[in-house]
């Protein structure tokens, strides 16, 4: 049975779809990037959730029924793609999987040539995410929005090489890095297409280093911009919608839009050059839909539920009051160990304060 608040008139899918077109549905959609936390709803361990697509699908479905959020996001963890390129990954029983940074698949500049094409449809972990998209689509694809997810090529490579060494290699060995980025991009293009073909309505691409917290604009554009475009184009050509996620501080909106042209960007902080959310709304509110921006840790681990609602109310008033494109969400993944009722409180806030008159 679909989760509905008293004044809800649309399905979640209709609500999100309208929001992505800058149109007003019945209310502001709420999509708290509820991913890994879903393992607790089904009562399974995190490692099971990360490696068993059937259990992950059931967990996400159960969570949506319980909490009523308007969109699934198929972020399992940021090491999904890296694993299929050969990176060893550690699967903690009660935490997010991560690469074994003591055993990187790429150990030196010469190793970038070890990156080879893989077929995501026949791989282990990417295939698992494709299967989750298919499972969600089969169960709820006509009612709830499904955002697939993939990590940008530079992000994937950082998981395989290690962040610190990759960042230095951007200066020391750019050609070797670009060679690997090219191969990874070809795989991600197929991965993106496969997610849409499996039933995802959108693929959310994460170009995590497109902010001054990590790279200069020019360096990000050189190493990821054109590759991001190819992945975004593949999503659109497959009939999907392009969305972008980046929880870094001061995302380079102008450059990300130039290369990916997404309909929405999911963020934790105001865009580059905007000191406040008010400035962000003024500059970007009519150009691209903002998905955000509750602080995940504060929301899931610190605030009482009424504080969560109050925090969301302020966001809703700012964006809706200025006719800005907006979907209420956390700025990054809802904490896997967070209070599930806080995610529910976000949805309640949208249903209470986000109703369009």
């Amino acid at each position: 049975m679909a989760f509905k608040y008293e004044n809800d008139q649309l399905t979640s899918l209709e609500r999100v779809s309208l929001a992505l077109q800058f149109k007003k549905g019945d209310r502001v959609p709420a999509a708290p990037l509820f991913c890994g936390a879903s393992h607790r709803v089904l009562g399974i361990t995190y490692d099971k959730w990360s490696t068993d697509s059937e259990l992950a699908t059931k967990s996400l479905l159960a969570s949506q029924e319980l909490l009523g959020f308007d969109s699934f996001v198929t972020l399992v963890d940021l090491s999904v793609e890296a694993y299929d390129f050969g990176q060893e990954v550690i699967f903690p029983k009660n935490s997010t999987a991560y690469p074994n940074f003591n055993n990187q698949f790429i150990k030196n500049a010469g190793d970038y040539a070890k990156i080879k094409l893989v077929d995501p449809r026949k791989s282990k972990r990417m295939k698992s995410v494709i299967d989750i998209c298919a499972g969600l689509s089969k169960a709820k694809g006509k009612e709830v929005a499904i955002l697939g997810f993939l990590y940008g090529p530079l992000g994937v490579l950082s998981q395989i090489r290690g962040h610190k060494e990759l960042f230095k290699d951007l200066i020391r060995h750019p050609d070797e890095v670009l060679g690997a980025i090219e191969i990874i991009t070809q795989v991600l293009v197929e991965y993106a297409k496969a997610q849409i073909e499996a039933g995802a309505h959108s693929v959310c691409i994460d170009p995590l280093y497109s902010s001054p917290t990590v790279l200069s604009k020019s360096m990000w554009e050189r190493f990821e911009g054109p590759y991001l475009k190819r992945i975004a184009d593949a999503v659109r050509n497959a009939g999907g919608i392009v969305t972008v996620h980046n929880c870094g501080n001061g995302v380079y909106f102008e450059e990300v839009i130039k290369w990916a042209d997404p309909v929405a960007i999911s963020v934790a902080h105001p865009a580059y050059g905007c000191k406040t959310w008010e400035e962000h709304v003024e500059k970007w509110g009519s150009k691209v839909v903002t998905i955000g921006y509750s602080d995940p840790a504060n929301t899931g681990l610190i605030m009482a539920q009424e504080e969560v609602v109050e925090d969301c109310r302020k966001q809703i008033e700012l964006f809706v009051g200025n006719n800005a494109g907006y979907i209420l969400s956390t700025g990054c993944e809802f904490p896997p160990n967070g209070n599930l009722l806080s995610a529910a409180a976000m949805v309640r806030a949208a249903a209470t304060y986000g109703v369009y008159s």
Partner: protein
């Protein structure tokens, strides 16, 4: 005309700023060959260069790749100069024990804070990543640290930070150390909640915070 000491130190500083590791090594060897003071060369050459790089980072002229390259150059120079420091010249420095909490292996933020603290004159003991709470406390006691600096990027490992403070309280030594926290999901509210002495949003802020915590100028 032979090169003067100040000129050599300036070149050393520049070599760090311009990320030229091999030149830094060459100039550091020159410092030793000419019998110049190693400690002075570190202060006026390597540290000065890293400090300039840090300013460029704050001004968005440099970013993480550039800063990491500068720090590689600095550490390469330090490897040569450090063995030649006379003990009495190294002075009394505030000691910081730093690490990434248990369950987390993302250490780039911690490394940046370490570099900036060292550049600013702190003596930093880097425990690395995936460090159990007890280890922070034991090391801080052992080296008589002033500050324990805790980092994490994951929400699932944040609790390790409060565990460090809990252990300090249980042992009755909470007042002996200042605890500072940082990392992607960390906020001032979280720092307040667990009773940390401070939170900083980035490496430059971490230095200012550390200075404040030990009673120095911000």
């Amino acid at each position: 005309m032979p090169e003067g000491k100040d000129e050599l130190f300036k070149k050393l500083s520049d070599s760090v700023v311009y990320m030229d590791e091999s030149l830094t090594v060459q100039l550091s060897n020159e410092v030793i060959d000419k019998g110049y003071d190693a400690y002075e060369a570190i202060e006026k050459g390597l540290s000065d260069g890293m400090e300039r790089a840090g300013k460029l980072f704050e001004e968005e002229e440099y970013f993480i790749p550039e800063l990491l390259m500068c720090s590689d150059a600095m550490y390469a120079g330090l490897d040569i100069l450090k063995p030649h420091i006379k003990t009495k010249e190294s002075g009394e420095k505030h000691r910081v024990v730093i690490g990434v909490v248990e369950g987390d292996t993302h250490d780039i933020g911690k490394n940046l804070v370490k570099i900036m603290l060292e550049t600013s004159g702190f003596d930093v003991i880097d425990l690395g990543r995936d460090i159990p709470p007890q280890k922070f406390v034991e090391t801080a006691k052992e080296v008589e640290a002033k500050i324990i600096a805790l980092s994490t990027l994951m929400t699932t490992t944040m609790e390790g930070m409060s565990e460090v403070i809990r252990i300090l309280n249980t042992l009755g030594i909470r007042e002996s150390f200042k605890v500072m926290v940082g990392g992607g999901p960390i906020s001032q509210s979280f720092a307040d909640k667990i009773g940390a002495d401070g939170y900083s949003i980035n490496a430059a802020e971490a230095v200012r915070l550390a200075r404040r915590l030990v009673g120095g100028a911000a």
